[in-house]
């Protein structure tokens, strides 16, 4: 028999602590949409997505009502378009991005990911075309997200692609200058990208995945924050245990919703991504959790240790609650999407260098960071190279989602709006990395033993 207290506790988490399912993301393989005529390929992409994801939003809404749990986002991820488009005799994949955008709107989802290329070891013709198409694709579409994987622990770092992406990010910012460089908010550069990530902007449906599947991203920074308020001043053993218990509950809910949604959509349930994903709403912040542990402001000394504990405890609590865990699974630290991170960055305590250190111990990387509009392409490439190196050496996913906001300087705010939030422009080091980036080639894969 269920306890009255447990029922009210669940409702309290939903009503007051922002507990929700952050996203259900349908992964769809588009490998069978390849065609040498780019317009025919686009038509096939549109048809397949709209056919497969026809009921996604309806099923999501039904589950929200039946179980009384909000599912904030319904999304789609597809096979990296560089693979699908490779057969096309064309020099631009923008028509394919437009087809994705149209299909996403038809299905009623709020993002579609997979305008992507995997180039960790080298680039095919299709990969180059895809990268060159990104700025225009981000300008011409609203819902399409793009990602490029430039490095991995097994392959090393493709520095030609790193150099290329610095310029692509700059160009994307310029083409979407009217919206503060919004296009860059939908573009992420990865190392060790995962194939079943349900979170945007980095979601794509990897080649090792089935024809179609449903992945779930849970969230609940507000719930963890609230739980920690009840253990003020107690040792870290207690802190870790409290986070684990909370993560367990959140993840069990995600698992249940994922299985239920998969059943109704007649496709396999893939994974639960055990991430703590913040939103700009007050009370839904990862930074505030770190501060609750005893830090005056997120970004001060001790922040990396606090984040390491949080990230590990979330995984330990979540892993037993789900029969398949995957995706990025960890705490996210997107600056613009986290009210506490925004405040910490505005106060100058949270810097780019500290964020880089934090990415060594948590999920993903330098995420949703605004830098001055006059930041050079080489500097952006160098930031990408640093993050990719952290991911490569530590066998983890890292990423860079950075917005060189046109016309903005340090201290200005960049307004992305909606889910993407707003970010203060943060300073970068002015010293040049031009000659470093100009070398090109590959950074070899690292040694996996003799670790020190």
């Amino acid at each position: 028999m269920l306890d009255f207290k447990d029922i009210l506790a669940t409702q309290d988490m939903i009503d007051k602590r922002h507990l929700d399912i952050r996203t259900i993301t349908m992964g769809i393989s588009l490998l069978d949409c390849a065609h040498e005529d780019v317009n025919e390929c686009a038509r096939r992409i549109y048809d397949k997505i709209t056919r497969r994801a026809e009921n996604l939003v309806k099923v999501g809404q039904d589950i929200e009502w039946e179980f009384g749990i909000p599912i904030v986002n319904k999304r789609i991820s597809v096979t990296p378009i560089a693979l699908v488009g490779n057969a096309c005799k064309t020099d631009s994949y923008v028509p394919l991005a437009i087809a994705m955008d149209k299909a996403a709107k038809e299905c009623g989802v709020n993002f579609i990911g997979g305008f992507s290329a995997l180039v960790q070891k080298g680039c095919t013709k299709g990969d180059w075309i895809l990268m060159d198409s990104i700025p225009e694709a981000m300008q011409a579409t609203e819902l399409v997200c793009s990602s490029v994987n430039v490095g991995s622990t097994k392959a090393g770092i493709n520095m030609d692609a790193v150099a290329k992406m610095g310029g692509i990010i700059k160009k994307t910012a310029e083409l979407t200058a009217d919206n503060d460089g919004l296009g860059c908010g939908k573009l992420v550069v990865f190392a060790n990208a995962v194939e079943d990530n349900p979170f945007m902007a980095g979601a794509f449906h990897g080649v090792g995945e089935p024809e179609c599947e449903l992945n779930v991203g849970v969230s609940g920074p507000g719930v963890v924050y609230h739980a920690l308020q009840s253990v003020k001043g107690q040792p870290f053993d207690v802190v870790a245990e409290t986070i684990k218990k909370t993560a367990f509950r959140i993840t069990r809910m995600g698992q249940m919703v994922g299985v239920e949604a998969g059943k109704r959509l007649n496709m396999p349930f893939g994974i639960v991504d055990l991430s703590l994903a913040p939103t700009p709403a007050v009370g839904d912040s990862v930074a505030r959790i770190l501060e609750e542990m005893g830090l005056e402001v997120c970004g001060t000394h001790g922040t990396t240790a606090a984040l390491a504990l949080l990230n590990d405890a979330v995984k330990k609590g979540g892993v037993m609650a789900s029969n398949h865990v995957g995706g990025l699974s960890g705490a996210f630290i997107p600056v613009s999407e986290d009210e506490g991170m925004i405040a910490a960055a505005q106060s100058g305590v949270l810097t780019l260098d500290k964020l880089e250190a934090m990415t060594c111990v948590c999920s993903v990387g330098l995420d949703m960071i605004a830098v001055p509009g006059d930041t050079s392409a080489a500097t952006i490439s160098a930031i990408i190279a640093d993050e990719a190196a952290i991911g490569m050496v530590n066998s983890k996913t890292t990423a860079v989602r950075i917005i060189p906001a046109p016309g903005k300087t340090v201290g200005d705010m960049v307004e992305m709006g909606g889910l993407l939030g707003s970010a203060p422009v943060m300073p970068v080091h002015p010293e040049s990395a031009v000659d470093f980036i100009a070398r090109g080639g590959r950074i070899p894969a690292p040694l996996q033993s003799l670790k020190n």
């Binding site: 447990d6 029922i7 506790a9 039904d62 929200e64 009502w65 039946e66 749990i69 809910m253 239920e260």
Partner: protein, 89 residues
């Protein structure tokens, strides 16, 4: 299929009657009721069987939500599995 109905609001005459009339209209059987008054707020939990309900559960939950707004109460119907998942290993 079981669901949990929770009703929270200011205590007054006819809350249980109002909710039960609606549930009966949709052929929902009430299996158990417990209620209490917490800090002046009427708080009720019902375990109900929705297997033979005359409309889909999602629709039923929406209708009860609307009814709650009319009566100035929070009325929520949620399938039991969510609580089982979160609070029972």
């Amino acid at each position: 299929m079981k669901a949990i109905v929770t009703v929270i609001g200011e205590d007054r005459v006819g809350i249980i009657a109002g909710v039960c009339v609606d549930l009966a209209a949709f052929n929902v059987n009430v299996l158990d009721i417990s209620q209490t008054v917490m800090q002046g707020y009427f708080t009720m939990m019902m375990v109900v069987d929705v297997s033979n309900a005359t409309c889909p559960v999602a629709e039923l939950a929406q209708k009860l939500d609307e009814k709650g707004k009319e009566m100035n109460l929070s009325i929520r119907l949620q399938r039991e599995e969510i609580f089982q998942a979160m609070h029972r290993v």
